[in-house]
Amino acid sequence: MLTTIQILLLIFILFSVSRVILRVKEKVISTQAGFFWVLIWVAAIIGVVLPGTTTRLASYFGVGRGVDVIVYLSLALLFYLVFRIYVMIEDIRREITFLIRQLALNSSTSPVKSPRKRSKK
């Protein structure tokens, strides 16, 4: 029999999976990225429905409780994803600067020649 928290978590996970599938269909994210996220959520479903698996996983890793191993792995994954997002934002920032530069240079293709220009005798 499922407990209330298990039911709530399952509803949330199924909602998340549906969002992933929708985004893949809309081609907002790639199939590979969609596969990655579905895999994460399926692992979460296994952890919620069969809590014994997390305990076995914990003993395999030498961690006391099943919940602890999930928290450790999730933290590691989150840190990695934050790093990926940071790099992505830096790349986007650079691309925006590149575009702004090209637009600026193109709009000054025929600048008014400086009256200061002089030739040395």
Binding site: S108, P111, S114, R118, K120
Partner: protein, 226 residues
């Protein structure tokens, strides 16, 4: 020999006209001087004020930072086939008389990159600025392995070789140290010449904020670890 003076400006309408008027009209051993203002997405009348000075203006639609503006200036100078590029802050902190000293080592082929250093000669500099610049020099030395007495100086001169080979990525203040790293990576001759620093209430307000030092240092580290 053609010199392009790049003046990056962001919301400098109060002083930019005076700064542009004071720039040299002729320099020894230089056949032509082009001045270009890179208006880095200013929201005040910087563009209009610069127009009054009759100089070239390249306008960023959005503010992208000092490093991005300098890089745009270098690109513009390359298009004009410049032999030397001088970067000159728009906040009135530099003395235009120093430009001749700055380009001399390049004309004499003794340097590819010349940094105008505010700290080679003794002069009145606010203590907080002295400390922050000392910290920035130390960080540049530890992280990038290049020592410069004024790694954050806004008055620099690039030879044609430096213009073509120095490719910095940072959009904001940390680009100053990256320029030195790039020069070292490309085995360029770096030279420093003493310059005068004019600290007014306005330039102190407009220059690097003291608290900016921390995020700039953090981005420094991230760039290394990236």
């Amino acid at each position: 020999m053609k010199v392009v003076i790049v003046v990056p400006a962001f919301n400098e309408s109060r002083v930019i006209l005076e700064v542009l008027k004071a720039l040299p009209r002729r320099l020894k051993r230089v056949t032509s001087i082009d001045i270009v203002v890179i208006d880095d997405g200013s929201t005040d009348h910087t563009f209009g004020e610069a127009q009054k000075a009759g100089v070239n203006i390249v306008r960023h639609l959005l503010n992208r930072g000092l490093g991005a503006a300098i890089k745009t200036g270098l690109s513009w100078a390359k298009k004009q086939n410049a032999d030397i590029v001088v970067t000159f802050d728009a906040d009135g902190q530099h003395d235009s008389v120093d430009i001749q000293k700055l380009i001399k080592p390049i004309i004499l082929r003794k340097a590819d990159l010349v940094i105008g250093s505010r700290f080679l000669n003794r002069q009145q500099i606010p203590f907080d600025r002295l400390f922050l610049n000392w910290f920035a020099n130390l960080a540049t030395f530890i992280l990038y392995g290049v020592y410069c007495s004024d790694s954050q100086s806004g008055l620099r001169a690039f030879s044609k070789k430096a213009m073509n080979l120095i490719d910095f990525k940072a959009d904001r203040m940390e680009f100053s140290s990256e320029i030195l790293l790039e020069a070292k990576r490309n085995n360029m001759k770096i030279s420093e010449v003493p310059i005068k620093a004019i600290y007014t209430d306005y330039s102190r307000l407009k220059g690097q904020k003291n608290l900016n030092a921390f995020p700039v240092f953090a981005r420094f580290l991230v760039k290394l670890l990236r």
